[in-house]
């Protein structure tokens, strides 16, 4: 049996373990990688591989960026930065038709600039924005659609954990990935807001205007965005000028977030412990997936399957853009049935060499597929953000949430097309990093 065939069998076995036996994604990748190496080389080689690889992965300095950035986001989350951001966005946008939904997306974008998780954003923005939108008689479709779609910005706008994992796994610069994703994130946020404008033009009753605020109130409200601007400026500015490494950026961001929340007295001891607890749990399951992916990646490399696929696809008599859209389609379908991070780590060993072979820039490709996979967080049947929103807004049925989301899905496709036509939107900011 050729190594490539073993690789294909390994891929099917892993999918079967995940889909049919409820084995967590990280465990399934590790198990399949282990079994595959044992089959291809020897059982002893597979044993030695897990001992060495797991320690190397766990003690990697580069991976410490994950708990550090998650900690920064959770300190901000537990010290109610979102509430202050929402209040600021509400003061500026609330008086226009659909303004509260726009404020929700703007606050999501702001929170995304200091947090890399979309479920945390979805949970907190539902609690914060839902009561106000209900108070002003917003339609449930617009309420839930705007919250669920807005919260996906958490993964697109830096610092993003998905981008960090992509960078670590492919050896690409995390700072370049962060800078490359700023403009796409802003485009996506702007298009989401534009979608709200269009929805409210078609259904004016869905988003009635809120109370008007004076210019003075607007200026005063800006202090609600102070922490976000300071932390984002500090982290991204430091990375831009090469003042610190990405892991140190996480440490500096966490330290400053902690300092600011203590200074504001917005973080009680219980919330501080909750921030640590959440950070540890989320980091541990992310790093288990990465460790599993490392073992699985070693197995795939031994089979040479990724290179064989890359060679085969590159030789096809079709334009590279066609193959790219096939990859995008796989990510859209895959994202609809499983978590973005897991999907990314399963598919990167296959698709990354292929993208490189097709001469796509690795930074551009990373940002593009991050946007594609994040769509999965709001598309049925998995759509984790939709479940989070429906779980909190208990009287709104899940079908209404998905209906609301459907209005926002074209914005992702438009963003992807724009990034394909104008790759410089990603590459120019990325190349300016020192």
């Amino acid at each position: 049996m050729s190594p490539e065939i073993v690789g294909i069998i390994g891929l099917f076995l892993m999918m079967a373990a995940m889909l049919l036996l409820q084995i967590p994604v990280g465990f399934a990748m590790g198990l399949t990688g282990f079994a595959g190496v044992a089959w291809l080389i020897s059982f002893d080689a597979a044993l030695a591989l897990i001992g060495n690889d797991l320690w190397t992965t766990f003690s990697s300095y580069g991976l410490t960026i994950i708990p550090l950035f998650i900690f920064m986001g959770h300190i901000c989350f537990h010290s109610n930065v979102n509430n202050r951001l929402y209040s600021c966005a509400y003061t500026w946008l609330g008086a226009t038709r659909g303004g509260l939904a726009m404020a929700t997306v703007a606050a999501c974008a702001g929170f995304a600039a200091i947090s890399g998780s979309n479920t945390a954003t979805a949970a907190t923005m539902t609690s914060v924005a839902l009561p106000s939108m209900r108070k002003y008689g917003y339609h449930p479709t617009l309420i839930t659609g705007s919250i669920a779609a807005g919260s996906t910005l958490g993964v697109v706008i830096p610092p993003s954990i998905v981008l960090v994992v992509y960078g670590i796994y492919t050896g690409q610069s995390i700072a370049k990935l962060f800078f490359g994703s700023i403009i796409p994130g802003l485009i996506l946020a702007a298009l989401l807001i534009l979608t709200i404008v269009v929805i409210c033009r078609r259904h004016p009753a869905w988003g009635p205007p809120g109370e008007k605020t004076s210019f003075k109130e607007k200026i005063i409200s800006l202090k609600g965005s102070f922490e976000m601007l300071l932390l984002f400026g500090l982290v991204m500015g430091g990375l831009f000028v090469g003042f610190f490494t990405p892991s140190e950026a996480g440490a500096v961001g966490s330290f400053c977030a902690l300092f600011l929340s203590l200074f504001r007295r917005s973080l009680s001891y219980e919330k501080f412990l909750a921030a640590i607890n959440d950070t540890l749990k989320i980091s541990s399951f992310i790093i288990i997936i990465i460790a599993g992916a490392v073992i699985f990646g070693r197995f795939l490399a031994l089979t040479r399957l990724p290179y064989a696929i890359a060679e085969w696809a590159a030789a096809l008599p079709v334009a590279p853009v066609f193959i790219l859209w096939v990859i995008i389609l796989v990510f859209i379908v895959g994202g609809a049935i499983m978590d973005a991070l897991g999907l990314l780590l399963i598919t990167i060993p296959i698709f990354y060499p292929l993208a490189v072979k097709l001469n796509y820039d690795p930074i551009w490709f990373g940002v593009l597929i991050t946007i594609v996979t994040t769509m999965g967080a709001i598309t049925p049947p998995v759509g984790v953000n939709a479940y989070v929103v429906a779980g909190i807004a208990k009287d709104i049925p899940l079908t209404t949430v998905f209906k609301g989301i459907a209005y926002f899905l074209p914005t992702y496709i438009i963003t992807i097309i724009l990034l394909e036509i104008f790759p410089q939107l990603i590459l120019w900011p990325a190349s300016s990093v020192h």
């Binding site: 373990a17 889909l19 049919l20 036996l21 409820q22 084995i23 967590p24 994604v25 990280g26 465990f27 198990l31 282990f34 044993l47 030695a48 897990i50 001992g51 797991l54 320690w55 766990f58 003690s59 990697s60 300095y61 991976l63 410490t64 708990p67 550090l68 900690f71 998780s117 479920t119 993964v155 430091g238 003042f243 610190f244 892991s247 140190e248 996480g250 440490a251 966490s254 330290f255 640590i276 607890n277 540890l280 749990k281 989320i282 980091s283 541990s284 399951f285 790093i287 288990i288 997936i289 049935i337 499983m338 978590d339 973005a340 991070l341 897991g342 967080a377 998995v382 984790v384 479940y387």
Partner: protein, 168 residues
């Protein structure tokens, strides 16, 4: 009953481990921040990168059981959610058994790796400190995760459902 007390022991022990992991996380933050300040004002803190790496290893290793205890690991349940209760119990039993086996092997092999490093007298590159205790702690983290999976296996066999949560 026995499984319940074993489970309770695991939960209590995990809380203690989380406390240590939390301290390790805070140390990472402090060392990382201090290194940036010292490097730009004076000179870098010697060995801060390797210390942060080792602390990162034990932070994660000591947290490993908590995600499993709270069923936070990412699973794809698009098919399994349609299983009958009996079939679901069977598949989760197989899944927990495979997981327990894998992490037992991981603990054993990581421990052996620690032994190799200890016996070779290997020290870290910059600080020249022994680092095998960190490897042993990581092995211990895997062993604890394997124990949690054994406990889950016991629950599956006793027909007590264990629901997973999908998170990102």
């Amino acid at each position: 009953m026995k499984n319940n007390s074993f489970r309770n022991f695991l939960i209590r022990f995990q809380q203690f481990k989380l406390l240590l992991a939390g301290i390790s996380l805070l140390l990472m933050v402090i060392i990382g921040f201090a290194n940036v300040v010292c490097r730009n004002l004076w000179q870098p803190l010697k060995g801060s990168f390797e210390l942060i790496g080792y602390l990162g290893a034990i932070t994660i290793a000591l947290s490993l059981g908590s995600a499993q205890l709270e069923k936070k690991h990412i699973i794809v349940d698009i098919i399994t959610r349609k299983y009958s209760p009996g079939w679901r119990r069977l598949t989760s039993t197989i899944g927990h058994f495979c997981g327990a086996l894998f992490f037992s092997l991981a603990a054993w092999q990581t421990w052996l790796w620690g032994d190799t490093i200890r016996q070779a007298g290997e020290t870290s590159e910059t600080l020249h400190m022994v680092f095998y205790p960190f490897i042993y702690l990581t092995a211990f983290g895997f062993a604890f995760l394997a124990l949690v999976l054994v406990s889950d296996l016991g629950l599956s066999l006793k027909k007590i459902p264990a629901e997973h949560t999908e998170t990102s």
